[in-house]
Symmetry: C2
């Protein structure tokens, strides 16, 4: 199931243009199981014959973040990664094979932590909760990590 159609509709209602890039980018993020780097985005788009300049991708991502449709996440690598806001959750990232697992089962823990802030009167706008390590497979064939 993809969230892309709803997002595109919402943007159209807000009178924003639906360009080839904007549409394809939202669709790609909507079907990706993990947050994507700009490099990955360009590669994926190329596969579906949408050839774009990195500048346009960055500007598009900034636009979508302003509309609160996209969020930046970090796995402690060099570059940033991006995901649809509606798909926001947390990840276990294998440092060797790069496999990403969604951590749906942590949501209650995170909610619980955010309760703590209510008491402290700190208004949480954003959180980073990611776990980096080795997946089951890669623990066996242990070599160098990324």
């Amino acid at each position: 199931m993809s969230y892309a159609i709803a997002i595109i509709d919402q943007l159209r209602n807000k009178k924003f243009r639906i360009t080839r890039l904007r549409k394809a980018l939202i669709e790609e993020l909507g079907i990706s199981k993990k947050p994507l780097s700009v490099e990955e985005i360009i590669k994926h788009l190329r596969k579906r014959k949408v050839i774009v300049h990195k500048t346009s991708v960055y500007r598009q991502l900034i636009f979508l973040m302003e509309q609160d449709e996209v969020r930046k996440v970090t796995f402690g690598e060099k570059g940033d990664r991006f995901e649809l806001t509606v798909m926001h959750h947390h990840h276990a990232v294998c440092q060797k094979c790069g496999e990403v697992e969604d951590l749906l089962y942590l949501e209650s823990n995170i909610k619980q932590m955010e309760q703590t802030f209510l008491k402290k009167r700190f208004k949480v706008e954003r959180h980073l909760v990611e776990f980096l390590g080795l997946c089951k497979k890669c623990q066996k064939e242990k070599t160098k990590t990324i």
Copy 2:
């Protein structure tokens, strides 16, 4: 209370040289209440008359990370930040005034989350747990965030 002396001693025992920069850097990280950026490190060192090139700071931080005495953390900003491993905990970062509060009271939540991974056989090597938002003070005088 500073952790610097113990760390320096340990390095000396491992036959590493204790240079002016190495010593001053460990001491600065040891007295800082928050993880520091390289820019901040250079500024702090300058105040105590230790003038160093950014290259040396980066190399020193890489060395200290290899020795597992220092960790890289990210607050979702441009650059990275660094802290002593023994001081590792999590933070609430105000996006306006930059104030950083240690989240000692989250440790039990994080331990709990890591329990989850034991069941999944995912070996956690590192985690990112940071909360970004507005502190009590800045919520009142609300303007632009960083």
